[in-house]
Subunit: 209 residues, 2 copies
């Protein structure tokens, strides 16, 4: 499970198809992909997910589906990512299977500890910085709180929310296993180049850690 | 699997909670319940679904969750109902388990035959009559087409769409295993009385069949 550069897709932010976003992000060095789609019918998301699963498999990239454990199972993803309002961790795990990955979003120390106790495989913690992509994500927790959660957790923690090539190194130095991004990759004109730039910053920050 | 009077919940149409709708519908003689909720977060739907599952179990009433196989599995429902845009039948069945029920909506002879071949346990066929509750349900297929599908199918078929106490008998006489209703029960001021009236008409039509 390599969460170094975890790219979340977004049709609205990107203006391009999920498949195109994934293809370019992987070319640029993404190590994990999350399919985020709340508007399309489940059957269509499953079809898109199957194509992305095949591409991720070919490239050795982790493939996670947002929110819907049933869709994740149906398209053969490596796992599901659930928010605090989505299925509980144990319910999600029963659906995707014990060999699969269940990631959980956490915005506070409490939520992070609880998700860890419930058996999450990794945490997406944030918003680390202010972000416009997820207006419901709440106030930024800041790098200080993020670092306390990341260093205190027994499972990998990725930072999410407002992360760019300019501040990614900070997140890694604070103890993140990786960074999760939407706009900073799929919102850029050249998705592959944006992913590559982020990846270089992350790798460099790791080498110095 | 008794689909005689299959009541679908709807917070908008009813103005009352899912639990209240279910409680009243069962008091009036509903034999099957479908929880329909697309707006609330999955975690909340699971909590509502668990309460309804417990009530249905106590009353010997079938409990089906609309659309989301993962939510159905998480709240211990008897099965899931999928539309043509939802998860494919086989994917839904893998998630809820082979002992559970997978129902499928069909609006044409073709869709009905395909769903049957794919392993659906029952079909919801319609709209039989014009309806305002599901504006996306397409034109009414009429009682003639409904009857051809119901009599041609090897699995139970319930009629749905615009069914009221005034026309329920027609649907039963056309070969339906039961009728599925939203507005005609949960949209009525007295849900239990509305369910009871419908149930009487259905039972009477069956006795004469």
């Amino acid at each position: 499970m390599d969460l170094t550069l975890y790219v979340l897709t977004d049709r609205q932010v990107s203006g391009r198809s999920h498949e195109e976003q994934v293809n370019q992000a992987i070319r640029g060095g993404a190590t994990a992909i999350q399919l985020r789609e709340k508007a399309l019918p489940a059957r269509v998301i499953v079809e898109i997910g199957k194509r992305i699963a095949a591409e991720c498999r070919r490239s050795g990239v982790l493939f996670i589906v947002n929110d819907r454990a049933d869709v994740a199972a149906a398209c053969g993803a490596d796992g599901v990512h659930v928010g605090q309002d989505d299925l509980p961790v144990d319910a999600a795990r029963r659906i995707v299977g014990s060999a699969k990955i269940v990631g959980v979003s956490a915005g506070t120390v409490d939520e992070a500890l609880r998700a860890q106790d419930e058996g999450a495989d990794y945490l997406g913690v944030g918003s680390v910085f202010a972000t416009s992509t997820k207006p419901d994500a709440g106030d930024a927790i800041g790098i200080g709180t993020f670092g306390r959660i990341a260093r205190g957790a027994r499972i990998p923690v990725v930072g999410i929310g407002g992360i760019t090539a300019d501040n990614a190194a900070e997140v890694i130095r604070a103890g993140a296993a990786g960074v999760a991004v939407i706009a900073a990759v799929v919102g850029e004109r050249d998705i592959a180049a944006a992913a590559q730039r982020l990846r270089e910053r992350i790798d460099a920050a790791r080498d110095r850690r």
